[in-house]
């Protein structure tokens, strides 16, 4: 006869669960104000320290925002913090960052092909046109293109992931600092992706995105090699 060890949670973790439960149950909504620390500690019957530990954790995860004298509020949207941290901890090298990006963006573009709105299609097209007109650095426009696609998936969780991924990619690339940009190729790829999305064709969009990101990957890895 063997007893399973009981996984005891400390009080602050239990409080975290309770507070998240307020959101999940619909008692409070994103953007709503929570009771004050003093009220919460009484409600949960724990010390203020425990409550602060729980709230600090929730704030680090972007689930709440706390402001002196105003109070503590649930965030309006799923924050990028948790994923940013996971990314920061995982980012061993450029290759794995690129692969993470590929993996996520291929999924995003598939959903986008199913669900993209005319408005987002126009915004996408605008970035393609802006890139054609751009004289110098088109990184921001390039990034915007990818962000619109993630947004088009109409899924707040997925959308919360694109920012951290692209930021980490940009940051890593800066450190390598290869300035071999081929705007024509990138623009061509973006156009192909755009056309596939316009047709609402997931497989075609996937293939266009995979081609694009594989090219980005190969170029970056080549640049890395030449740098050594």
């Amino acid at each position: 006869m063997e007893f399973q060890t009981v996984d005891k949670k400390n009080l602050s973790k239990q409080v975290i669960d309770e507070i998240i439960g307020l959101l999940q149950s619909g008692q409070l909504k994103p953007g709503d104000r929570l009771p004050t620390e003093m009220e919460l500690m009484t409600m949960c019957n724990v010390s203020r320290s425990v409550m602060r530990e729980a709230l600090s954790s929730l704030e680090a995860m972007g689930i709440v925002n706390r402001k002196t004298r105003k109070g503590t509020f649930f965030s309006d949207r799923i924050g990028s913090e948790p994923f940013s941290i996971m990314l920061a901890l995982s980012s061993g090298n450029l290759k794995s960052i690129l692969e993470t990006r590929i993996s996520l963006e291929l999924g995003f573009v598939t959903l986008a092909a199913e669900k993209i709105t005319d408005e987002d299609l126009e915004r996408l097209n605008a970035t393609v046109e802006a890139m054609k007109e751009a004289d110098g650095d088109y990184t921001a426009t390039d990034k915007e293109f990818h962000e619109i696609i993630a947004h088009s998936a109409s899924n707040p969780l997925l959308e919360a992931m694109i920012g951290p991924v692209l930021n980490l990619y940009d940051k890593t690339l800066e450190q390598i600092s290869t300035n071999q940009k081929n705007p024509e190729i990138t623009i061509g790829h973006h156009e192909a992706i755009y056309e596939a999305l316009k047709e609402k064709n997931p497989v075609k969009a996937y293939q266009a995105m995979y081609t694009h990101l594989s090219y980005v990957r190969d170029k970056a890895l080549r640049g890395l090699k030449e740098r050594q």
Copy 2:
């Protein structure tokens, strides 16, 4: 003339960054023991309260584990906690859960097609065979199939995401409780995915997985509708 507001971080957030920096800089490795709370508070020149808030946050995110009398250790692997919480907060309905799953798994399977090892191929095949032999519930085996694929992408971050996604999916489906299972179709899909992975063909693997998960989605949504 406009001044940008300075984004001031409180002390516990600053301490979090410093501790994560220990990992990123390689000073400490996953699994290593951190200094004690008392030592850390001296090193960082903050009170014990602030240090505990920071450590509680790190523990809530699965980055460290703390044990009475033993100390505080960096986790061996990227935890699922951050992503679990993001998922918990985002999970409005079955449709969005299904879409999240589709998006992520399509990316995973693409990378898996590039990188899968013979060993993982064998394990995949074993699950397909196990499902053929299964008399009753093959949920665990089905889940394992998908987990192996995520593992095959050989990316710790992506691998940390599959567990929470599948758990949430299972949990949501339980609540719907439609018992319309077609093992033959699922097995057929798994076989097609397996064959594509064996050929190391990303596009084919993607298409097979997309077909499978679209079927899963349609069936679940149909079941949901019939339940209302």
